[in-house]
């Protein structure tokens, strides 16, 4: 076991997969020479050369489309979009092309592409660099959506995503890159579609993912001191959703709180809440509570920004209300 930063774990995953399979290549803005804005692609250029570590012009729609084309002929592109906010520029290529090709071609072709991007608020980057847009991808059949919260998961899930034969939207969080965690020295993969119980508990299920996992754990540990045993389930993969783990947890605890940073209205939490109600109504002792980002554009001012995203205090207070 070594301690790695989240961004180092992602970097290791890329190294390992590019060594394993010469058809894997990475492409994005400033990812080669400069190693990426968050250093996730650092060192790749030196080892793999400019044919497989490709700096692009600011032409997101087309280099993402190029990823689709490259995937269709059997290579395995890992395309980086600097901010999830900029994925608004590439949704045709993701929604109408990558997600649908296999289906519309009757299975003749596949799109084994990973779209790596990064989202979330937290550094005063304002409205166009702070969003959490996973719900846009979650709604689209044919896409997998992965949002790891720890270095361990980031490494194992990125490797799984690269090996997956379908388009995977892999969303990192800007506040996670510098967080640290234990990662085994030997190779491993974390299968897509499996939630992880980050803290077991009996009284209430707290369902979350990405950076909010850290806040939920903090809240859960605080609650533990009051004797409230919260189970924190980190989805890790949003789509396909690990219903089984969720339903098992909820049938044990009888109470569920969903926490995410994305806006509440139409967020992924709504779908999970609706699903739990449909499939575990009798198991539940009360309504599922959503603690989510405010329905607003993220403001620049740091205090305002902070007010838009669930805090540990809000999570603690929320959990208390469902007990």
């Amino acid at each position: 076991m070594a301690e790695l930063k989240y961004r180092e774990a992602l970097n290791r995953a890329l190294f390992e997969e590019m060594r394993r399979d010469p058809l894997v290549f990475v492409m994005g803005e400033g990812i080669a020479e400069r190693g990426g804005s968050y250093k996730v692609t650092e060192g790749l250029l030196k080892e793999f050369g400019p044919n497989r570590v490709i700096d692009t012009p600011i032409a997101e729609a087309s280099f993402t489309g190029a990823g689709v084309g490259a995937a269709l002929i059997g290579t395995r592109p890992v395309v980086e979009i600097l901010f999830v906010d900029f994925t608004t520029l590439i949704l045709d290529q993701i929604i109408n092309q990558a997600a649908k090709y296999e289906f519309m071609s009757g299975g003749q072709g596949k799109v084994p592409m990973v779209l790596r991007t990064q989202g979330g608020a937290g550094n005063g980057l304002a409205g166009q660099h702070s969003q959490s847009l996973e719900a846009l991808f979650y709604h689209i059949p044919g896409l997998k959506v992965v949002m790891p919260s720890t270095p361990y998961d980031a490494l194992g899930l990125l490797k799984a995503a690269i090996r997956d034969d379908h388009p995977v939207i892999f969303i990192e969080h800007k506040l996670l890159y510098m967080t640290k965690g234990e990662v085994p020295a030997e190779e491993y993969v974390v299968s897509l579609g499996q939630a992880d119980i980050k803290k077991p508990g009996e009284d209430v299920t707290v369902i979350t993912y990405s950076y909010m996992t850290l806040k939920c754990l903090e809240a859960a540990h605080a609650l533990e001191k009051e004797g409230i045993r919260a189970e924190v389930v980190d989805l890790r993969t949003l789509s396909p959703l690990d219903k089984k783990t969720l339903l098992e947890s909820v049938s044990k605890t009888g109470r569920a709180v969903i926490v995410h940073e994305a806006c509440k209205r139409g967020g992924v939490g709504a779908d999970i809440a609706a699903m739990l109600m449909e499939e575990a109504y009798d198991e539940l002792d009360g309504p599922v509570l959503r603690i989510c980002g405010k329905n607003t554009t993220i403001p620049y001012n740091l205090e305002l920004e902070k007010a838009c995203v669930p805090s540990v205090a809000e999570i603690i207070a929320g959990v208390r209300t469902v007990l």
Binding site: L23, F25, M27, N51, R52, I54, T56, P57, A59, A61, S62, F63, T64, G65, A66, G67, V68, G69, A70, A71, L72, I73, G74, T75, P77, D92, Q93, N96, Q97, Y101, F103, M104, S105, G106, G107, Q108, G109, P141, P240
Partner: protein
């Protein structure tokens, strides 16, 4: 400055004459496309084909000429007006027709239809319902070729309307920067639905868009399969030498409305007549001996008839199987 379409000046003029075998192959494809499309019009009227069907009538020489200049292993990316590309790249007319009629035996199991037809075996990466969306996909195939280190090339087919979409400019610039083996085949049929190219392009001589991105742009007569073939061949050779992309603007004209239900009354009737007088099928037929023509036509006629029978006799996809296949989604 009047924005007028100038006459094409082909790069290929004065080139060596085209091999008889190639001429016959191209004729097979223009004729097959013509017959296939006319048949589809009939089937559409009979209610056997649904959704959108955009005939390639009048433009057959472009696909035929371009595809004759590449091998089966090379890739093409097609458009919503894609039957001609599919046929010229070598598709089985039976599987095509079955797809277009929506049957389980079609290339896409009846899930794609005309607008999404593809044939993987021929390295046809497929038609697209989103105008322009195939252009970056083709560019990416070029990039993938570089990653794989193979000697393949890609032809991206698209029309004048698509060239106004940002993905065209982005893609040709990408291909230029990366020197990708992609031929951008701009089928300038002078219309995007009802919008004439003069009203949609600031400079409607679209080949001029190549040099702006460091890419050679050449304008040719798209109704002359031979010229298309020779020009494409040069571009392909250039691409295989690693010298990068070429933009070819092949001027042509739709022989009717935008889709099968559009009478196209807005079209310039005089221009239409003059383009029809230079029908690509007739132009090419005149270059081949009568015996070959008859042989080819008879063979194609039989193939098309067989395709219709095959499609009609093929089963509809099973709803149950379909639902089962998506159940875990």
């Amino acid at each position: 400055m009047a924005n007028q379409s100038s006459a094409p000046k082909g790069a290929a003029t004065g080139e060596a004459a085209v091999d008889e075998k190639i001429l016959r192959e191209m004729y097979r494809n223009v004729y097959a496309t013509r017959q296939f499309e006319l048949t589809c019009v009939t089937l559409y009227r009979q209610g056997l084909i649904r959704g959108y069907f955009h005939p390639y009538l009048g433009e057959e020489a472009i696909a035929a000429g371009a595809c004759a200049a590449i091998g089966r292993d090379d890739y093409i990316v097609s458009t919503h007006r894609g039957h001609g590309h599919c046929i010229s790249k070598g598709a089985d007319l039976k599987l095509m027709m079955a797809e277009i009629v929506g049957r389980a035996t079609g290339y896409c199991k009846g899930r794609g239809g005309s607008m999404h037809i593809s044939s993987k075996l021929d390295n046809n990466l497929g038609a697209n319902g989103i105008v322009g969306a195939g252009i970056p996909i083709a560019t990416g195939a070029g990039l993938g070729i570089r990653v794989k280190g193979s000697r393949q090339v890609v032809i991206a087919f698209f029309s004048d309307g698509a060239s106004n979409n940002g993905v065209f400019a982005e893609s040709i610039n990408l291909a230029s920067v990366f020197q990708l083996p992609v031929i951008y085949m701009l089928e300038n049929n002078h219309y995007a639905v009802s919008t004439p190219v003069e009203c949609s392009a600031g400079d409607c001589n679209l080949a001029n868009r190549g040099p702006a991105y460091g890419v050679p742009g050449v304008c040719i007569d798209g109704n002359d399969a031979e010229e298309v073939y020779l020009t494409t061949k040069q571009a392909v050779e250039r691409a295989r030498r690693g010298e990068g992309p070429t933009l070819i603007e092949a001027k042509t004209y739709r022989h009717g409305g935008h889709h099968v239900n559009d009478p196209g009354l807005y079209m310039d009737q005089e221009a239409l007549a003059s383009w029809k007088a230079r029908d690509p099928v007739n132009l090419l037929r005149a270059k081949i001996n009568d015996v070959s023509v008859k042989q080819i036509e008879a063979k194609v006629d039989a193939e098309v008839a067989e395709a219709v029978e095959f499609a009609k006799n093929s089963p509809e996809p099973s709803v149950e199987e379909f639902l089962a296949s998506i159940a875990d989604d």
